[in-house]
């Protein structure tokens, strides 16, 4: 059995070999050889099979002995051989194909490379052992070679400036020695015409066919160097300016962090440069909602001018004006000026302005600039009309007749003259004029103006006056009152001295008489003489007392107090009580609810004198009666003292209150009483008068005391 199998196996092997050989035709492409071989195999296989079939049919055992084995081995070997030959041919074929592919790829890459190499603007060259092998057109152009032929074979040192030869040679040697040498550096080159220029070179090496080739990529950096130099110079200039600037210059990056600052800036804030470079804009600036950093606007390219406050190292705030913009390289530049002084100046100016305005606004006087050509005020600290109390409507109603209306006709002439005087006035002349103007309530007010020259026109003629007007009405009134008082004083003194002389005459004369009568021992006459003298002396005494009283009335001797009407009248009555009782007078005092505040003794004197007078001048009535009271109307309270006595003829109405006036010689007193009363009443801003229907018809003295009444 085994031999059968082996037989089949050997057949199989031969067949396989035949098939394989046929197959190999395709692979290797050699037809004839393989066909022959395959035929041979097939034949062998066929013969075997025939043999096998014959053996089978004959039923003989299949012999498998040495020849068979050898035949089997040979078959196997044949198959193997075919296979091996096939594989060999296949691999050759594959190698060929690969080589073709590689060649193709190589060709393509060479085309690409060549394209790049030829067209690149970068200058590229290959050298071996320091000698140019080839270079691209850019290289040739750069160094000024007309063609590759001119370059090839030349030393690379020809393209290097002599000053740099040594360095390059060193580099090459070191590279050869295997040291690490920078492959990217700058050096100076030389063109064929001898001009030198700066270039940067990138060097790499590769090995080919056992040789080391150097590939150099050269870039002309002349321009870049200029640019760099320009930039450097510009930076240097900028630096110098920055350092010299009196203002602080701060540079910050996009995040707001400071990247540079000049000395002035450091000084402004009190930090060192190092400290500032640690900080951001937010660290040293005060930000408010209405004054933000506005970086977005800066990024748009705007220049911003703003005022804000920066924080010094010591914590104080400094007011600054910042001019900020973004530089072309994205840095923020801020020029910071300390405006403390400017702020102070502004504040001082504002204060002064404010002060001037306050002064102008609060002074009661009118301050104005009057234009001589236009005949009107071009500036006034308040409206003239306001000064005189007119409303705008009234002013309008009067129209152009305004000044004619309100200026007093008598003064128009000299006011005009006053302005005319300025034509010839010097710069420091001050001219004054007084005039009257009618106030809105109809009252004539006295005004006093002082004017100086303020401006001249281009020809030097006076064009404007600066003046101030004061309302001097009150002052004039006071002056008038003073004059009046002085006159009264004179009259008073005159009267007083005169009236003192009178009793003096009596005294002295009777002294003489006394002497005679005493010598004549006429006792009766002596007594009479002495009577006269005594009377005169008394009179002088009383006179002096009342004079003193009169002069005192003007000055307050006691502190003002509250006192009721009732209290005053009671006091007065008490002083006159004796006399009243003596003459059996009926005095009726009304219930008057009035409280007064003032100099009590003086006020009491009023009623005392009036009641005394009423008693003195009662005459010989039967039913003598005095009424004391007061009447009030809405305007004022009028006090009265009424009697039904002798009465006073109306033609004496002024005389009655005169100094030292007595209507009845025989009556007591010095005649000062009513004058005194009048004085006191007038001191309280009141007035006093009497009503009487004549002799025998009684008298009623009435008076007011507005200043003394407390409501």
């Amino acid at each position: 059995m085994v031999s059968a199998i082996l037989f089949f196996l050997s057949i199989g092997l031969q067949l396989s070999a035949a098939v394989t050989a046929l197959l190999l035709i395709r692979t290797t492409g050699r037809k004839v050889a393989w066909i022959l071989l395959s035929l041979a195999m097939l034949l062998m296989a066929w013969r075997r099979m025939v043999t096998l079939v014959a053996l089978f049919s004959s039923g003989e055992t299949i012999p498998f002995d040495l020849p068979e084995y050898i035949a089997l081995m040979i078959s196997a070997l044949m198959l193997l051989g075919v296979l091996r030959i096939g594989a060999y041919f296949r691999s050759i074929r594959m190698v060929g194909e690969e080589r073709r592919k590689t060649e193709q790829a190589l060709r393509e890459s060479e085309i690409q490379f060549r394209a790049v190499f030829e067209s690149t603007r970068d200058a590229v060259a290959v050298s071996k052992n320091g000698v140019h092998v080839f270079a691209n057109p850019a290289y040739l152009k750069l160094f000024g070679y007309e063609s590759l032929d001119k370059l090839a074979g030349t030393s690379i040192l020809d393209c290097i400036a002599p000053s740099c030869h040594r360095e390059i040679v060193q580099n090459i040697q070191r590279r050869k020695a295997g040291e690490k040498v920078s492959s990217f550096y700058e050096t100076r080159g030389r063109k064929t015409d001898g001009t030198e220029f700066d270039f940067e070179i990138n060097v790499s090496t590769y090995d080919l066919h056992g040789e080391t080739y150097t590939l150099a990529n050269v870039r002309d950096i002349t321009e870049r160097k200029w640019t760099d130099e320009a930039i450097r110079k510009s930076e240097e200039q900028y630096r110098t300016l920055m350092e010299q600037a009196a203002d602080g210059i701060f540079l910050a990056n996009q995040e707001g962090r400071y990247i540079d600052v000049n000395t002035s800036g450091c000084r402004l804030l009190g930090y060192t440069r190092e400290e500032i470079l640690q900080m951001t804009m937010r660290d040293v600036t005060t930000l408010t909602s209405d004054n933000p950093l506005r970086m977005a606007e800066l990024r748009e390219g705007k220049s911003l001018l703003s005022e804000r406050e920066m924080i010094r190292k010591d914590g104080t705030l400094v007011p600054v004006e910042i001019s900020a913009k973004m530089l072309s390289d994205g840095r923020f530049q801020g020029i910071v000026r300390d405006i403390t002084e400017r702020r102070q100046a502004e504040e001082a100016l504002t204060n002064r302005e404010h002060f001037v305005q306050r002064v102008l606004g609060t002074t009661p006087n009118l301050i104005y600039i009057y234009d001589l050509m236009e005949h009107r005020n071009v500036y006034a600290n308040r409206e003239v009309f306001d000064f005189l109390g007119y409303t705008a409507e009234q002013v309008q109603a009067m129209g152009s007749q305004l000044f004619t209306n309100i200026l007093h006709p008598d003064d128009a002439a000299h006011v005009g003259q006053h302005h005319a005087c300025f034509i010839t006035a010097g710069d420091s002349d001050m001219l004054e004029v007084t005039y009257r103007m009618k106030r809105s309530d109809g009252q004539w007010r006295w005004l006093h103006s002082r004017d100086v020259l303020f401006a001249r026109d281009n020809d030097g003629k006076p064009s404007q006056l600066l003046g101030t007007t004061e309302d001097i009405t009150e002052r004039r009134q006071a002056e008038d009152a003073l004059r009046e008082k002085n006159a009264e004083m004179e009259r008073f003194t005159y009267t007083a001295s005169h009236d003192l002389r009178s009793p003096l005459v009596t005294l002295k004369t009777f002294l003489g008489f006394l002497q005679e009568d005493f010598a004549a021992k006429d006792a009766e006459r002596v007594a009479k003489d002495m009577d006269f003298m005594r009377t005169a002396a008394n009179k002088m005494g009383v006179l002096l007392d009342e004079l003193l009283e009169m002069s005192r009335v003007g000055r307050v001797v006691t502190d003002p107090v509250r006192v009721t009407f009732r209290e005053l009248v009671d006091e007065a009555m008490a002083a006159v009580a004796g006399r009243i009782a003596e003459k059996k007078m009926d005095v009726r005092v009304e219930e008057v609810d009035v409280v007064l505040f003032g100099d009590r003794p003086r006020l009491a004197e009023i009623w005392q004198n009036l009641i005394e007078n009423a008693v003195k001048y009662m005459g010989d009535q039967e039913a003598s009666c005095i009424e004391v009271g007061a009447e009030s109307n809405e305007k004022e309270t009028i006090f009265f003292v009424r009697d039904n006595g002798m009465g006073i003829a109306l033609r004496y109405k002024d005389k009655v209150f005169g100094l030292f006036e007595k209507l009845d010689v025989k009556s007591e007193g010095t005649g000062l009483g009513l004058a005194l009363v009048k004085r006191i009443v007038e001191l309280n801003n009141g007035r006093i008068w009497f009503e009487s229907e004549g002799a025998g018809k009684g008298t009623c003295f009435k008076f007011t005391l507005p200043d003394a009444i407390l409501n």
Partner: protein, 147 residues
Amino acid sequence: MHGEPAVILLVEDDPGHAEIVRRNLGRSLPATRLMHVEDGQAALDYLYRRNGFGDPDKAPRPGFVLLDLRLPRVDGMEVLKTIKADPNLAGIPVVVLTTSAAEKDVAMAYECHVNSYLVKPVDCDQFTNMIETLCCYWITWNRQPYE
């Protein structure tokens, strides 16, 4: 009307001064009748013979008037003016006898045609002297117009 030379009308409010004049007059011209009134109103009443001065015996026309200036009721100057304004009375000489030496009083008095202005001296002898001279002049020497 021809006034009796021996009648003097004294208009003086101060009793002391009146007494002085009376005594002095009594010494120099005892025959003189001194009619004394105490205020201006009374003086005018006397001269016009009214208000109680109706009786010519009680109120003879004076040879001259001695007039004080400061008088109650009607002032001395008023009296002077009235007298000098009235043709019937203007002929009577008026001598002002007053304590006031003020210029304006003097001036005023002369403007009102006073005949003479005397200031009362503050000395007994002088006063006596003055009255004496006064009477001597006006009564003894001075001629009165006849009626």
